[in-house]
């Protein structure tokens, strides 16, 4: 059974004159332990697709299976629970909560899941931050970290609940070349090591080509 399967996704965005057919029948499957890139021109529908897969948005048509679970009939709370348990998000902007330290940010998804004790959460968050190379900066607030460091905290946070799928929308878009390289390597290594799937939107053809598979998008469809 595949980790994620989408079928014939359609999505219209906007109202009236600005209404546009952003996705025009997208379908593919994703397997665990592999990395996937979505590449394509600006406006081709990459983010739209990623949000649908992340259950942050609802398709006008088509289906999304997470494991063997079909998600179109799920309530908002059920979709949220699926995100909490099975998905980790990394966005172009890291969105750290600036009143929380790096460690606390990483602990937030675990607190919601509520499966670990306080000490266990702390230890795990600390391990994750060490894995992204920030083991010595766990007590820093977001504002006391560089852009690349903040993005690595966001990656650690995305991994907090051991999601089966990591969704990243231009995770390196805001970083310089060296940092972009490190962040990508980190994501790709972790996915391979832990058997998690990585689905990454990227403008950077170099990075996209380093993924196991590349979906090329154009005008709302994936080119064969």
């Amino acid at each position: 059974m595949s980790l994620l399967r989408v079928e014939n996704l359609h999505r219209h965005l906007g109202e009236g004159d600005t209404r546009c057919h952003a996705l025009r029948g997208v379908g593919f499957t994703i397997e665990g332990g592999r990395t996937y890139a979505i590449a394509g021109h600006s406006g081709s529908g990459k983010s739209t697709l990623l949000y649908l897969i992340g259950l942050l948005d609802i398709p006008d048509e088509g289906r999304i299976w997470v494991g063997d679970r079909e998600t179109s009939r799920l309530t908002d709370d059920e979709r949220t629970a699926v995100r909490n348990e099975h998905m980790g998000f990394v966005f172009q902007f890291h969105f750290l909560l600036k009143e929380f330290t790096a460690l606390e940010n990483v602990m937030l998804p675990m607190r919601k899941l509520g499966r670990l004790s306080e000490e266990a959460m702390r230890a795990k968050a600390s391990d994750l931050l060490t894995a992204v190379g920030l083991g010595d900066k766990t007590r820093r607030l977001g504002t006391q970290l560089s852009g690349g460091e903040q993005q690595r905290v966001a990656i650690a946070r995305a991994l907090a609940n051991d999601p089966s799928l990591i969704l990243a929308d231009e995770p390196t878009g805001n970083l310089d070349h060296t940092n972009a390289d490190r962040v990508f390597a980190l994501l790709s290594d972790i996915a391979h090591q832990r058997g998690q799937a990585l689905l990454m939107v990227s403008h950077n053809p170099d990075l996209a080509n380093r993924c196991d598979h590349v979906f090329r998008m154009q005008d709302g469809v994936i080119l064969a």
Binding site: S47, T48, Y51, G54, L56, D57, D76, D77, T80, A81, R83, N84, E85, G88, F89, F91, Q92, F93, F95, L97, E99, F100, L108, P109, R111, K112, L113, R157, A160, N161, D169, E170
Partner: protein, 412 residues
């Protein structure tokens, strides 16, 4: 600690100054609310205590005489109330019979007959119009606080002499009377000489200015009233029983009977209007703090839109987000109410020790306060409702944010 509480606390910290303003408002609002209530209720309670100590809980006066049409049905329990068909005959002809009839009421703890009239007090070559009250000392002490109203001389001295007098403080002052002085009372009967045994002060201006107490036997001579009484003053187990009991007594003894609540209606209304209006006025402080709180929370929601979206994406439900904002309100209101109540208790205590001389409707030399837990409960309830409403709308707005739309909007 549940994550929503943790997040609520940190978000509050982000708007510390604005939140402290709202908090301060709630603390002051709650404190002032309780203090003004304690004070107005204190004055009211003290007024009631005074008035009960002076004029009693229930008074039986004027005999009710039915007209012929109704006396014709005598013997049956059937009666007709017709406007104008009832005549009042002043006074009580047979006080003993009435008092005996009161034995049937378990709520009645004491009853005392009183004769009231008019007489001129003559002393130091001056004349002064007074209202003498002839009392039966032993029973009268059970239906009044006369013993505690004595400010000079003694009840004992009054009790020991048949021609002793207790005069009101204002009379004593005007006529320059001291305990032991001899005065002449001139009434419809025979003028008589009395000795001032004591001076009383109730604080009720009108009473202190015109009332003198003398023995029942003495007033009969003074007013030439060999029998009967002007009224019977009654004490009950509990003052709150009076309104229900008075009509029953009236029926049983066929004399007009009035409860103190009815008699003092005007003043009681003044006090209750005062209390309500001060409660409303002070509540505006709480309302305004609530408005400030609403504003601050809306600012936090706008401020934290991305954070809310990311929390939603990592698994926090709409209810969690809503809870985060309701909890911010909750934290402020809990802290505000606790501090406010503490400040209120301190303020009430301080106020009760501020010296102020009050005479007119009662006598006090300091602010009178009433410690009533319900004042604290009322303040807490008002603050809680206001803050809940102030938090509800921002929290709903936060919960309704679409994480996808927010993230899309901020990453392009």
């Amino acid at each position: 600690m549940p994550p929503s509480l943790l997040i609520a606390l940190r978000f509050l910290g982000a708007r510390k100054r604005a939140m402290l303003m709202s908090l301060t408002g709630i603390v002051f609002g709650v404190a002032f609310f309780v203090i003004t209530q304690a004070q107005t209720a204190g004055f009211e309670a003290y007024f009631i205590k005074t008035i009960l100590g002076v004029n009693g809980m229930v008074r039986i006066e004027d005999r009710i005489q039915s007209t012929r049409a109704i006396t014709a049905t005598e013997g049956s329990s059937f009666s007709i109330a017709v406007e104008g068909s009832v005549k009042y005959i002043p006074g009580i002809q047979h006080p003993k019979v009435v008092i005996d009839a009161l034995n049937g009421f378990a709520e009645v703890t004491a009853a005392s007959p009183v004769i009231r009239g008019n007489a001129t007090l003559i002393a130091n070559f001056r004349e002064y119009d007074t209202k003498p009250y002839g009392i039966e000392l032993d029973t009268f002490l059970n239906v009044s606080d006369l013993d505690t109203q004595i400010i000079d001389g003694s009840i004992k001295a009054f009790g020991e002499s048949p021609y002793a007098l207790i005069v009101g403080a204002r009379i004593a002052k005007r006529m320059n009377l001291q305990v032991g002085d001899s005065v002449l009372l001139d009434g419809p009967g025979e003028p008589q000489r009395y000795r001032v045994a004591a001076i009383f002060e109730t604080g009720i201006d009108q009473v202190d200015r015109e009332r003198v107490y003398l023995h029942l036997s003495a007033i009969r001579t003074l007013l030439n009233k060999p029998t009967g009484a002007s009224f019977i003053q009654i004490n009950l187990l509990d003052p709150s029983l009076a309104p229900a009991l008075a009509p029953r007594i009236e029926q049983a003894v066929s004399h007009s009977t009035m409860a103190w609540q009815e008699r003092e209606k005007t003043w009681l209304q003044v006090f209750s209007v005062l209390r309500i209006s001060s409660a409303l006025t002070i509540s505006t402080i709480i309302f305004i703090s609530g408005l400030g709180m609403f504003n601050t929370l809306v600012m936090i929601v706008v401020d934290k839109t991305r954070e809310i979206a990311i929390l939603r994406s990592m698994g926090y439900t709409r209810a969690d987000i809503s809870r985060i904002f309701m909890l911010q309100g909750g934290i402020v209101v809990v802290v505000g109410v606790v501090l406010g109540c503490a400040a209120a208790a301190l303020g009430t205590y301080t106020l009760s020790h501020i010296p102020i001389r009050i005479r007119g409707i009662f006598a006090s030399d300091h602010f009178v306060v009433l410690w009533d837990p319900w004042h604290y409960v009322a303040a807490a309830v008002i603050a809680t409702i206001v803050v809940l409403i102030a938090s509800y709308f921002p929290s709903r707005r936060a919960a309704r944010l679409e994480p996808g739309a927010v993230i899309r909007g901020s990453s392009s």
